[in-house]
Amino acid sequence: MSLTLFAVQTLNGLQFGLMLFLVAAGLTLVFGVMDFINLAHGVQYMLGAYLTAVLAKVTGGFFTALLLAMPLTLLLGLVLERLVFRPLYARGHLDQVLATFGVILIVNEAVKLAFGAAPISVPVPEILSGSVRLMDGLLFPVYRLAIIGAGLGTALLLWLVIDGTRFGMLVRAGATNAPMVSALGVDVRRLFTAVTAFGAMLAGFAGAMVTPILSVEPGMGDGVLILAFVVIVVGGVGSIRGAFIAALIVGLVDTLGRSFATDLLKLVMSASTANHVGPALSSMAIYLLMAGVLAFRPAGLFPSRSAG
């Protein structure tokens, strides 16, 4: 295990973490402001990916497709908010979970009907198709640097919006104390609609960004959804800063676990046992992390909701 390899894996971990942040940001925002558990976030991510894939085929350009897909996912978010979410804000978490789970089932099946069950993919855009030589025999695709950039950019943008605008002030207020926001005379319904649509667009953006490196297929949002929930719960629900740091931690723990767990175990046990235990352990790594964090900090690393 050379130092170079360790550095490369750390970079890979950060890149994976930033990808997770892209997905988790919208989820934690919606959850934080409205106290709404939106399981449909994963299918919104999938819709972003499918729209990009289809539009890229039609228009022939990845960036055109990306630009078109964003308002479309926003629109779909609005429709979903109007039809399903809005009546559920006042209800308990369980009702929200049940209804948005229904949305997952519908959209996954509808996508399969519309585009088939086979995975489809999007070529890497020409301008980002190069690669950087990281170590002997290994290239780091420029596109992955673009994902790192997009993740950092989104984080910066969210920070600016949330810390610097009136919209952001309301979002922060909503995450800490929702009744207070309505007491301020703000039309809470409009705020909620805006946040949900914005969250859907963030999910769609994440989905669009991963299309050149991941396959686009029905159900692709389900696994990501769980990871995103791990991120926001570890980070502290509603906290963008928490989501950012938690995403990096989860990305690093997962990647480094996958890279080195088995090798490290080989130091203390036989190779075949290590081959047996290592992979199981690294699959569990992020869950162990989450259980550990929650055991000591039940509200996550950066709780945003005030205690009283």
Binding site: A118, P119, L139, L256, S259, N275, P279
Partner: protein, 390 residues
């Protein structure tokens, strides 16, 4: 006199068909495949392959009208058990066919065998059913799970590769794949990487591979995992530098997604749509005409499973309720398999040839695999010797 004989024969023939029609209803076949989730495309190939064969025979198998009840196992073994009980007891099927995944196969095997129903696999071939737990009610038109991996192991050995990295998902089929590969590859395993099932991003593993600098990589990554791996393998600049050997990773279910990224990569299989055998050409042409996409080996296996049933029912003289006759029929089935030579072993698995196949881009812009080198001739699985059936 001659006219009389003809008339007599015709009358006898008429009486015979009338007799069988009265005595027997339709041959009922339950087809269980995975049609939900990310692996649904495999089940789709199986379904379409089987239906094509049935359609070409006017809805008859072995001269008997056949009716297919299609069910989706959702890739949940306990759901599969429930559904197969429905097929056996409610729909009273004579044969259960299809079955995409080994865990589903292991779940339904017992209830199917207990009810003395035939189980004709057109994909999954788990080792217990080939060895100690073999059954006279089980027949496969595909392979034993290890064999395609053995093909690549043998190939790597023949090519003189010294150090190989093996990368498979951390589940039973993945471990079987690694075992199958190592059975014939005697060189050094530079590293054995077990990835998570359903893993999306392989950059960490690819970095390890690049650091290990092996002569070749062997991988088994079915479905979407394979698509991601192949794309990322190419993007990381490993494609073309380190030979990529695989099984069930690059085939016609994933090629529409991987496209150019997969061209030149190698896999192990008993058949590929680029095969030049006349039976194969006819099958591929008919399939593409009917369904508009290139069939993968899953479609071919299911097509052959219909031919296998056809031959067995024919050999039993249409008496598909006669278990002994049908067993004999399956054992000695004679049909022109799309893959070429086919012989049923004592454990119900085929003895067949295996090839290294390569991804090519066709003139019409579609992608497919084609055989480039025969690795095994009349290859038998290693578990057959544990099977008590003779």
């Amino acid at each position: 006199m001659k006219t009389f004989t003809v008339m007599l024969a015709a009358a006898a023939g008429l009486a015979l068909t009338a007799g069988t029609a009265a005595a027997q209803e339709k041959l009922k076949i339950g087809m269980m495949v995975t049609l939900s989730g990310p692996s649904a495309v495999l089940g789709q190939h199986q379904r379409d392959g089987f239906n094509l064969a049935l359609k070409q025979r006017g809805g008859k198998l072995g001269g008997v009208d056949a009716e297919v009840v299609l069910v989706d196992d959702e890739l949940k073994p306990d759901v599969a058990v429930q559904k197969v009980q429905g097929l056996i007891e409610r729909d009273k099927v004579d044969i259960v066919t299809g079955v995409t995944f080994s865990n589903v196969m292991m779940a339904i095997a017992k209830p199917v065998f207990d009810s003395r129903t035939f189980l004709v696999s057109s994909n999954a071939g788990p080792s217990p059913l080939a060895g100690r737990a073999c059954s006279p009610f089980f027949y496969a038109s595909s392979w034993q799970n290890d064999q395609n991996h053995e093909t690549m192991g043998k190939y790597a050995q023949d090519k003189g590769f010294k150090r190989v990295v093996v990368m498979v998902p951390n589940y039973q089929a993945g471990k079987d794949a690694a075992a199958g590969f190592k059975r014939f590859f005697k060189g050094e395993i530079a590293d054995e990487i077990f990835t998570q099932l359903g893993q999306l991003d392989f950059s960490a593993e690819l970095a390890k591979i690049a650091a290990a600098k092996p002569d070749a990589v062997f991988s088994f990554m079915p479905g979407g995992m394979g698509v991601n791996l192949v794309k990322q393998y190419t993007q990381a600049g490993l494609s073309g530098r380190i030979p990529f050997l695989s099984a069930f990773t690059i085939d016609e279910t994933t090629l529409p997604a991987t496209q150019d990224a997969a061209v030149g990569l190698l896999g192990g299989a008993q058949w590929a749509p680029g095969s030049t055998l006349p039976a194969s050409r006819a099958f591929v042409e008919a399939f593409e005409k009917e369904y508009g996409y290139v069939p993968a080996l899953y479609a071919q296996q299911a097509y052959d499973s219909a031919l296998l049933i056809d031959a067995a029912v024919k050999a039993a003289g249409g008496k598909f309720k006669d278990k002994e006759a049908m067993q004999k029929g399956f054992r000695n089935a004679q049909f022109e398999s799309v893959r070429g030579p086919f012989k049923m072993n004592t454990n119900g698995f085929p003895v067949q040839d295996f090839y290294v196949v390569k991804v090519v881009k066709r003139a019409d812009g579609k992608f497919q695999t084609e055989p480039v080198e025969k690795v095994f001739t009349a290859h038998e699985d290693v578990y057959a010797k544990d099977c008590p059936l003779k």
